[in-house]
């Protein structure tokens, strides 16, 4: 559910653009900023930084910041996962990859989370997985 910036309220302070983890926000200083819906993962970090409360969610409500500790991270069930790489292709932060084979001739490769600190908990991977091999678990 991508967020959007209210043009009336935005003063172009640039704070949101600098904090956005997926670089979904563009705009020059003192000009109106816009959010690229394709890149936005609705983490709400920008809303936390916006002094003017100019950022709204898709239902028209004021966007809220979801604390970093509350973002889930994906856990891949290696038994189910076929390594089809749909999640890798979906991950906006490039933190999923297909693992290296464990031994020469290993055919059972699967997706792994490379860096949980970079994961933004957007849950797109879990939604994308066609066979539900990905669960979202608490970060800490």
């Amino acid at each position: 559910m991508p967020f959007s910036i209210n043009r009336e309220k935005c003063i172009g302070c640039d704070a949101c653009r600098l904090t956005c983890p997926t670089q979904a926000i563009s705009g020059l200083q003192y000009e109106k900023h816009v959010i690229d819906p394709e890149l936005c993962v609705s983490c709400g970090l920008c809303a936390d930084f916006c002094e003017n409360k100019a950022i709204y969610d898709n239902r028209g409500k004021l966007a809220e910041f979801c604390s970093w500790e509350d973002w889930g991270i994906p856990e891949v069930d290696a038994e189910i996962c076929t390594g089809c790489s749909l999640c890798v292709e979906t991950c906006p932060m490039y933190v999923l990859k297909i693992n290296e084979p464990e031994f020469h001739g290993d055919i059972r490769t699967h997706a792994v989370l490379t860096d949980k600190d970079l994961c933004i908990g957007c849950e797109k991977c879990a939604a994308r997985c066609p066979i539900h091999a990905i669960k979202i678990i608490p970060r800490v």
């Binding site: 997926t22 076929t82 390594g83 089809c84 906006p92 066609p130 539900h132």
Partner: protein
């Protein structure tokens, strides 16, 4: 717009002359009749081509289509299809590719892209949702495939100041220089056959990049997810798709083909190659393969990854191993890996390139055309491939393919092509049904479009490969089935599971032996099913594709309807080809395969083509000229 899920509901017609776009009318009725993929492309070509066009003329169309399953996560559903008028064969061709372009084309909001006209300058196109931007190529023109794709990714990233996920389709130098069998490459996968890359080149179109943020709607999400999981598990348990293909890739066939005598060697003069073990899938797996990879959304993962000159690149498929190994009497696997990489980088079809090479070697040996190319001599091959791509020296003529060369220099009996398209690595004289497939196949000598009967005759099952009995009926059945499978956007390998695992893994068991014995007598049964597929108004567990289509699109679907759609798609392609002069006269094989027995002591080891063709046309309900009758077309709702 569409009422069916699975589709984005938009087909875009792109005019390169005016650089404008408009929506192409494609209705729900069409979706029901042709589903998508190749069938959709064939119908669009059928409606728009008159028979006057030529491959490199401005009015030739390129139709890039996806299936309704593409992007939904169904097993192996990441494929897209490119159809156009081929410069190599002069008739329509379709080339299927597993790269991620199809996925992103749907994310941009389109089911298909139709391209007509010709760019004045060298151009690449950026598609971002409903925005089409035409960019001038500049230095991009002339770059090899990987280099150009990396450069395009860099341009995309730079324009948006972040890493952009996009699907890229591009041609290499071979396509730019109009090599008749140039390929279009998406990622590591190629839409290789019959020269679609050259058509891109003739339109001055280097690449297309698609990106967007649409999601593919699914009709019944809960049931679809359940079905996908079940299907994925079936594929992973099957001896072919769960063990053989991941472990050895298609390359694993080399040794089986050797034992059965169908490994084409020495430009199809022989069916076995003494040094086959040195170029086999086993050796590839043991000594060279790093990891098995697959297209996106694929649980099978048959692609190889090998190291060539410090790069981890895609390894060769069976066809490349067979034709660049025994085909030219070369036992150096390391060289094949390197050539395969070079051909991919130049953007060329490995099958046609190596087959043309083998023809030239034989022509040189027979004194028809002195080129310095010799069987077993591998020092000048890399240079020859480069010469072909840039059309230098003998490469300029080699770039025209075997049909053209054999017309000019003679030696048509050993020009291994049908309708201008070079055959794949399966030697049909010990697998006569496959021979029939090669001859009647819509796009020319193609092993897949021809029905892939070799799996019934030699690999997998072992129904008498020498008898013409029942082959025509099975050929039609397999053609229609494979056609239908590809319509949804899925890989043909998912249809291997049609043969239950126990049949294949116990070739000497009682059940398999009985099935093998019975198959030649099953002709009439299959004939009835071919004629009245409506009787199969159910889902068969061996063919889960029908359920998948039902859950994703919401269309009413059953096995009979599924087969009928495949048949319709096959017929409409045949009708388009008829406009370009295809009839029974062109459904041929070279004399080497029909007149000269593979084993001089066994006169049966050749393809009794005329006999099988006659039965095949009857089975299809076509006239003696090999064309669908008016009645047939009406029944199929094509006209």
């Amino acid at each position: 717009m569409t009422t069916y899920s699975g589709y984005m509901g938009k087909v875009i017609l792109l005019d390169l002359n005016t650089q404008t776009t408009c929506e192409y009318p494609w209705t729900d009725k069409d979706r029901e009749l042709y589903i998508g993929g190749k069938g959709m492309a064939s119908k669009i070509l059928f409606d728009n081509l008159t028979g006057e066009e030529q491959a490199f003329s401005e009015d030739n169309l390129i139709v890039i289509t996806t299936g309704p399953l593409t992007g939904t996560g169904a097993p192996c559903s990441n494929r897209f299809n490119i159809s156009t008028l081929s410069p190599l064969t002069g008739i329509t061709t379709s080339s299927n590719c597993g790269g991620n372009f199809g996925h992103y084309l749907k994310k941009a909001g389109y089911d298909a892209l139709i391209i007509k006209g010709k760019c004045k300058e060298h151009t690449w196109i950026e598609i971002k949702n409903d925005k089409f931007t035409f960019h001038e190529c500049g230095e991009l023109w002339g770059m090899k495939v990987t280099e150009s794709q990396e450069e395009l990714q860099r341009i995309m990233d730079e324009s948006r100041n972040c890493r952009v996920k996009c699907g890229i389709l591009s041609i290499g130098p071979a396509g730019e220089n109009l090599v008749k069998y140039a390929a279009v490459i998406s990622g590591e996968r190629a839409a290789g056959r019959a020269g679609v890359g050259a058509v891109f080149g003739s339109k001055n179109l280097k690449a297309i990049v698609a990106t967007g943020n649409h999601e593919v709607p699914v009709d019944n999400v809960a049931m679809n997810d359940k079905h996908n999981l079940k299907w994925t598990n079936t594929l992973r348990k099957h001896p072919l798709t769960g063990n053989q293909l991941p472990k050895m890739g298609t390359a694993g066939l080399v040794s089986s083909m050797q034992v059965r005598g169908i490994l084409s060697s020495r430009n199809y003069a022989l069916g076995q190659y003494d040094d086959f073990d040195m170029v086999s899938g086993e050796t590839l797996a043991e000594d060279y393969n790093i990891v098995n990879k697959g297209c996106m959304s694929c649980p099978i993962k048959c692609a190889r990854t090998v190291n060539v000159k410090g790069h981890n690149v895609k390894g060769p498929e069976l066809e490349t191993l067979g034709l660049l190994g025994g085909g030219i009497m070369n036992n150096n696997l390391e060289k094949i890996l390197q050539w395969n990489y070079e051909l991919d980088e130049l953007g060329m079809d490995t099958i046609s390139a190596s087959s043309t090479l083998a023809w030239a070697m034989e022509a040189n040996e027979k004194g028809l055309w002195k080129t310095g190319l010799e069987f077993g001599k591998i020092t000048n091959i890399s240079k020859t491939f480069n010469d072909i791509a840039f059309r230098r020296g003998i490469g300029d003529e080699l770039a025209e393919g075997t049909r053209w060369l054999s017309k000019k220099y003679g030696g048509e009996e050993f020009a291994i092509q049908s309708k201008g398209l070079e055959l794949a690595a399966y030697e049909p004289r010990r697998s006569v049904g496959q021979g029939l497939g090669y001859a009647v196949s819509n796009r020319g000598g193609c092993h897949l479009n021809g029905g892939y009967l070799v799996i019934v005759e030699n690999l997998g099952l072992h129904a008498d490969p020498q008898t013409p009995h029942a082959k025509a009926d099975f050929c039609m059945f397999m053609q229609d089935l494979m056609e239908a499978v590809s319509l949804g956007g899925q890989c043909l390998f998912t249809s291997y599971a049609v043969f239950p695992g126990f049949l294949i893994s116990k070739p000497n068991g009682i059940i398999t032996t009985t099935v093998n014995k019975v198959i030649p007598f099953l002709g009439p049964v299959v004939r009835v099913l071919n004629k009245f597929p409506e009787i199969a108004s159910f889902h068969l567990w061996l063919i889960p594709h029908t359920k998948s289509l039902h859950y994703v699109t919401g269309m009413r679907m059953n096995l009979g309807k599924f087969l009928r759609t495949g048949e319709r798609s096959y017929n409409v392609e045949r009708m388009t080809n008829a406009k370009f002069g295809v009839s029974a006269k062109l459904d041929t094989l070279p004399k080497r395969l029909t007149d000269v027995p593979q084993d001089p002591k066994n006169p049966k080891t050749k393809v009794p083509l005329e006999k099988m063709k006659k039965v095949y046309y009857e089975a299809r309900g076509w006239s003696k000229d090999g064309l669908p009758t008016e009645k047939k077309l009406k029944k199929m709702k094509i006209v």
